[in-house]
């Protein structure tokens, strides 16, 4: 049942930007015709087998087709997950030779070893990067939408930074803000700031946030501009007769954009929670003084640098639970229908 729920949510979150199977490029998003959307919306409420376009009678062939994917998922996903549950309950000795059942001791150790601090850091990091990059992404998308024939040029100018590998972006920022010769650092120092992110925890944290935002903006821009494109032009036009500027945004566009906003919010939270490892590893290695140790970085440190299998297992499990909660939340919210159409 839980699988069904999340499946449904994912379908509805993908719906507003679905592919049209026809090759005609209507808009870059492929705004769906009403016939298709009605077909799909019945599909997500009815049983899955009712709406299938065609069903072949073969019984053995589909199993053969799906087998390789299932095999890879089973070996590299299901097995490790089971392993994580098992590992989290055992305690190995210092030489990694013997091990014994430890119950919940690992979870206790995890919570004691600064886990709550990592949790707080991750939460603040997530909040800051999500809010700021969403605001910038939306602002850019709104402005670019109104540039008419220049739109494709601006789109190109704003999407590319998403493709830059996190580790590479981290390296470039690391140099630009390197305290001795980095131009960014010099600029800050000329403004009277004692800039040295190797010593100041808050400065390291700010740097990591800034560069995550730099990267995330492109991603958010893509989704917001897709969402804006999906709002029918006549609705915007009609609204333009009655109200303008901020009013129009507040009462017409923003509410119509709410499914997109929610979708972006959840994606941003997920990527802030789990996707920031490379940047942190390049720029600050979790320091100084643990001020940039997020949950994933703590897991890396405990598991690989300190070799504490039990602790890392417990932390993995806690991450599993966290992402499960987020997905449940997502399916809850999307089911309550933020859609106006």
């Amino acid at each position: 049942m839980t699988i069904n729920a999340s499946e449904k949510s994912a379908i509805s979150s993908g719906t507003e930007a679905g592919f049209t199977p026809s090759e005609e490029p209507t808009t870059e998003l492929g705004v769906k015709t009403s016939r298709k959307s009605s077909r799909r919306s019945t599909s997500s409420t009815g049983t899955p087998s009712n709406f299938l376009p065609v069903s072949f009678p073969n019984k053995f062939l589909p199993l053969l087709l799906i087998l390789p994917e299932v095999l890879v998922v089973a070996v590299f996903f299901i097995w490790p997950s089971a392993q994580a549950i098992y590992q989290s309950t055992i305690q190995s000795n210092a030489f990694g030779l013997g091990s014994k059942f430890a119950g919940l001791a690992n979870f206790k150790a995890a919570l004691a070893s600064g886990y709550t601090r990592s949790l707080t850091i991750t939460a603040i990091f997530t909040l800051v990067t999500t809010v700021v990059s969403m605001a910038i992404g939306l602002l850019l998308a709104m402005q670019v939408e109104q540039t008419g024939r220049f739109r494709p040029i601006y789109r190109t100018l704003f999407i590319w930074s998403y493709a830059v590998p996190g580790a590479v972006a981290g390296t470039i920022w690391l140099f630009l803000f390197e305290p001795k010769i980095g131009p960014g650092a010099k600029l800050l120092q000329s403004m009277g700031i004692h800039w040295n992110f190797a010593l100041s925890g808050s400065q390291a944290f700010t740097l990591i946030c800034a560069m995550t935002i730099w990267q995330q903006c492109a991603y958010n821009y893509i989704f917001f501009s897709a969402g804006l494109q999906a709002i029918p032009a006549n609705v915007i036009e009609a609204a333009g007769l009655d109200c303008k500027g901020w009013q129009k945004f507040k009462y017409i566009i923003f509410p119509l954009l709410s499914p997109t906003t929610l979708f972006v919010l959840i994606l941003d939270v997920l990527s802030a929670l789990f996707g920031s490892f490379s940047v942190i590893d390049i720029v600050s290695q979790g320091g100084p003084g643990g001020s940039t140790t997020t949950l994933v970085y703590a897991l890396y440190r405990d598991g690989f640098q300190n070799g504490d299998v039990g602790l890392a297992g417990a932390e993995t499990l806690l991450l599993f639970v966290l992402s499960a909660i987020l997905l449940l939340l997502q399916s809850r919210i999307t089911r309550r229908r933020v859609h106006y159409r």
Partner: protein, 296 residues
């Protein structure tokens, strides 16, 4: 009060409105150009630095490009002490990104086809099994996955590097979405003509899926090329280093010089970001479609 004066007034209003609109649009372009430049500035500076020598940097970072790009690149191709050669790293990255792309599509197409076009007993169960991977990126599960990969003796091998990254449902999910909206008429016609399932897939479904396949290929290539954590965890020999993970080793090598070789680090950074950025810009239409359809 003749019609003439009214007309003149109307004309003036129109002019004023037009001027106002022009002013607003100019302001908008100004804002967007500044924003775009701000986004590009870090990369521009990196590019400039990669064209200078290390000594130039000590006098402050220049804003205009220099002439040392070729010599910087050639010292990267020779390799700094303790770091792999640039050519080797590019090769490793290309192999990893392409293998992930091909394997992901090769596994996902038949799986999604089976789920969408057949009715068989364990279908919902198997789909659910694949589907749960959607919510667990490798960053969450890398630790136990490492243990399993070690047990299978796949540490330091291409299989160990690639297969765990392929174990995710994004592509299956996007393809299923697409297949579900498949035109019924075509499928019916095919069945009436007595076309079997495999021929139907190859002759009809795949050609019609070209846009979605292109989108997925772009997404997977960028995903594969940009991997950092998993390659770092799984491979211990410098020879199997990809360019994205090799950058960390180069930073510490460059810093060990009397004059830090940041120009070389920036040159490597530029080389590492060119392939994914080019792919995304060249195929932006498909890339955007791919992103906005599925969950990545």
């Amino acid at each position: 009060m003749t019609t003439l004066s009214i007309e003149v007034k109307a004309n003036k209003d129109q002019m004023r409105a037009r001027r106002k609109r022009f002013g607003r649009s100019a302001l908008r372009h100004l804002f967007l150009v500044i924003a775009a430049s701000a986004f590009a500035l870090p990369i521009y500076l990196a590019l400039v630095i990669s064209t200078h020598s290390a000594i130039d940097l000590l006098r402050g970072v220049p804003f205009a490009p220099g002439t040392k790009l070729i010599s910087n690149l050639s010292s990267l191709f020779r390799g700094l002490p303790g770091t792999p050669r640039l050519g080797k790293m590019i090769f490793n990255s290309a192999i990893m990104a392409l293998a992930i792309t091909i394997l992901k599509l090769g596994l996902s197409i038949p799986a999604a086809y089976a789920i969408s076009f057949f009715r068989f007993r364990s279908r919902d169960l198997l789909f659910g099994l694949i589907f749960v991977t959607l919510m667990m990126p490798i960053e969450v599960r890398f630790f136990p996955t490492y243990a399993v990969t070690a047990k299978l003796g796949m540490l330091n091998s291409q299989f160990g590097l690639i297969l765990p990254l392929v174990a995710s449902a994004t592509a299956v999910f996007v393809l299923r979405q697409f297949f579900m909206a498949f035109p019924i008429e075509l499928a019916d016609a095919a069945r009436i003509d007595g076309i079997g399932p495999i021929r139907f897939l190859i002759k009809i479904v795949l050609p019609l899926s070209r846009p979605v396949l292109a989108a997925l290929a772009v997404l997977e290539f960028v995903y594969g090329w940009n991997q950092y954590l998993w390659p770092l965890v799984i491979s211990s020999s410098a020879n199997s280093s990809t360019i994205v993970m090799g950058i960390k080793g180069l930073i510490s090598a460059a810093e060990s010089f009397a004059i830090p070789q940041w120009n070389l680090v920036m040159a490597l950074a530029i080389v590492a970001l060119i392939p994914p950025v080019i792919v995304v810009i060249a195929m932006q239409k498909w890339f955007i479609k791919g992103l906005t359809t599925g969950i990545s």
